[in-house]
Amino acid sequence: MQYLEKYEDQMVRCYYCQLCQATCPVYLEDLLETHVARSRLNLIHAAFIEGILPVTDRMKEILDRCLLCTSCTRTCPGGVALDEIFIAARHQIYQGKRRGKVRRYLTHQAMKQRGIKGLMGKLKPLADSMGLSSKDLPEPDPNPFEDRYQDVIPAKGQQRARVAYYVGCATNTLYPETAESVVRVLSRNGIEAVLPEGLVCCGLPALADGDIETAQEMIRANITALADLDVDAVVTDCTSCGMVFRTKAVSMLPDDDPLRSKAEALAEKVWEATDYINRMGLVESPGPLSQAVTYHVPCHAGLMETMAEAPRRLLKEIPQTDLVEMESPNGCCGAGGSFFTEHRDLSERIRSRKLENIKTTGTNTIITQCPSCRYYLSAADESYEVIHPLTLLNRAYEG
């Protein structure tokens, strides 16, 4: 009850208004009373606080069948941090051992060591242990971002700011060109980017497993690497990494953790790169790019209002680029980090709604800030090009 206890007061703030039902992507597919945030909360309360329900396989199934998309948390008028409660419940159930020994070891190693020798080097054995074919997972780039750039990327022209760039694991190894776009766009707009040493995974995959202790290790390592840097901001290209730094780092650390105050200070300084660039304003005007694009808002962008609006604003700056809004741009794509590897059928059903909405826009270019959304959407249809907003901006700059 170590972590759930903290949320006991919050749990009773649910007053069964059912608004989470309108936004939960899993409920929308399953239409089952037990598959919505409110019910999960009730089950958690009954099993762990009241102790009147046994923890059965079915209960584990229900608590695992959640993408941690945070749509319920964002909808909840009572302000219940449902996603964090689900994480704490998973911790309670699995005590950090949700996955088998081998997979735990591999994941742990992968999260600690970044780059091709870390996450992606372990991808094959991980996929094997999950019974996935390589077709189900993205192909790592043989030349990850960390091998392409090191230390400092100076600002072009007059320096307006100095930022630390936190490259997410997936961007680093799967989509290094995104990271390259980020540093080029930053530089072009007078922002110096520092690539700090000692960064590890943000910890979200561990949180999804309920492995709070491992996540704390990651969070502490990243805070240690980032907190004392002499920078104006910390930017990341991934909305999920951004969410962890912004909201989860503080709530997941123990109250008496020595790094807590640093985590709090850091939370104020972290920005998703698009959001940061938009905030700073463009120094150099981009050239024309004649195309229509649509914007898929990643779920974890929802925790900061400006995160979702920034790409829309920046796209307006690119001449001849039309943003065609899809129906429900905030709707989940079904990926949920690695959720789709374990709930294939459900994820595909969630994704099919998204694909239909994309289809009606008539464009094949989709902008999104989350590498998991990016992979999962592009895997659905080879004709789709799914890219980070700053990749598009960089193209507009470089012609």
Partner: protein, 645 residues
Amino acid sequence: MSQLIKGEPGKRYLLMGNEAIARGALEAGVNVATGYPGTPSSEIIESLAKVSQQRRVYVEWSANEKVAIEVAAAASFSGLRSMAVMKQNGVNVASDFLLHLALSGTRGGMVLVPADDPGALSSINEGESRQFARLLEVPLLEPGDFQEAKDMTKWAFELSEELRHLVMLRSVTRLSHASGSVVLGDLPDTSGHAYFKHDGFVLDPMEGTVASAPVAYKHGLQHEKLKQVQAIFEDSPFNTYTGPESPELLIITSSICGLYCLEAIRLLNAADRVGILKLGTTWPLPPNLIEKYLTRADKVLIVEEVIPFLEENVKILTAELALKIGIKSILGKRDGLLPMENELNPDIVLGAVASLLDKKYQAVPLEYTKRATEVAFFGAPNREVTFCPGCPHRASFWSIHTALQLDARQGFVCGDIGCYTLAVLPTGYSTLKTLHSMGSGTGLASGFGQLHAFGMDQPVLSVCGDSTFFHAAMPALFNAVHHKADIIMVVLDNSGTAMTGFQPHPGRPVDASGNKVPDIDIPAVCRSLGAEVRVCDPFELEKTQETLLELMEMEEGVKVLVLRQICGLSPEKKMKKMFDMSLDQDKCLGETCGCNRLCTRIFRCPGLIWDEEKKKARFDEVICVGCGVCASICPAGAITKEKAA
């Protein structure tokens, strides 16, 4: 709620409106409290029951509201303070006695607390108890917040005692069921000695016969009391005015609407233009007080919920005062500015006030409304009202529905009030075809059951719950038996007043305070009347259906089938599984089920779900209560049950 009596006087506590009313009664030294459960009133009696021993209060859940008020009146006649509590519908039931009580007068302080339900959130009508104050000619008090709920309850007893007249204190859902801070007062000594003095001069109100006759004389006394109370109301601290000396707009309001008005004025930033006269004493209105404020403004808005009760009474006064105060524009419901149905809220009040002040104010941002509509209509999936998993009513209606189908004479069921009311909907296979007040199902059936003389050959059934049986279905049953109506009355006995929170009734072996009491056996009552009586467990589908068909075959006369199975949510049964259920997905026919997926599409217990991935049915073990009924439903025999350990 221990703080109800443990809280320190003078200190502030968070109390639910209903608890505040209960505390007020305790501070007044109430000795007898009665009621019949009904949302939103139930917690008042429940709170008092919990402290009945310590505070020396006799508390009972009466058989119905009329009996409740009679029991409370007896205490008043004997010099004790008493109260009767009910939801608004209960006042209808009690109204016959009430009209006589208003004439006969009371002795010990006696308070009637009706809790109204504007918007019918937990009711099937939107009736109003305020009308009754005028009809019965009794003083009406309406608390506007939680502190007033307590203070006015205490005052109501004192007022009643001063007048020797019943006093009505009306609450509404948003006061009864919301919570707010209340500064507690002192609790008196738990004294109180009962003695009914009846041998004095026959017309002496304190020593003679307590009766409504001679009517004209007693009615005259009653009108004296009303004049007396009007004078008291003129100076009541519960009538308050906030606003400028001469407001551009005067709002007259009462009850929880007072808070809506305050909020609206604050949002409009119009405190310098609008005055609010919040009345705690709304019938009879204090004329001098109203005159004082009417002279200060020409435009008056009356803010109240549902019927224009206050509006009409103010208009009468305005007409009477016209020569003195001139012509006033009294706005509210009759001109369509405010709705005559459903609850109000600050936004609705704000809209009306803004239009009168020529202010532009969008209470809810348009973008929000648009988005909310989108989510509500396009985002949120349709979700049906349903019986709980393993609810005995689902099994009962499955059997009733099946028996009527097999009988094939277009038989039908007259519905009644309880959880089983839901059987007008698909969750009860749309079995109920009439639905009115408590006990009316069997009354209607008694009427339908006479129509065979006019060629009706449809089987006539009625249902009622165990609490409803005692409340109002018994006279209808007597009528049906006496007149040989050809009906089957099905008593859905789930051992308690389930819908309102398992309050006991005369069929239960405990009373409101938990004392052991004699329980009345429903089948025995029915048998004693000469009805043909059967008792079944609704979870045994086959036996229940056979019994129903057998009863439908019988000669004319009243047949009673008691379907007895305790509610799965009752404290006695909660979390106890009767059966361990299992479902063999290899045997489940899935979409090819010849019965159109009987279990998940038609029977539809939430404990059975459709496995979208395997395209088979499965159990949702976390909510299945193990009633075992679905094992008899599956045509493929895929579902099996085993007695739980």
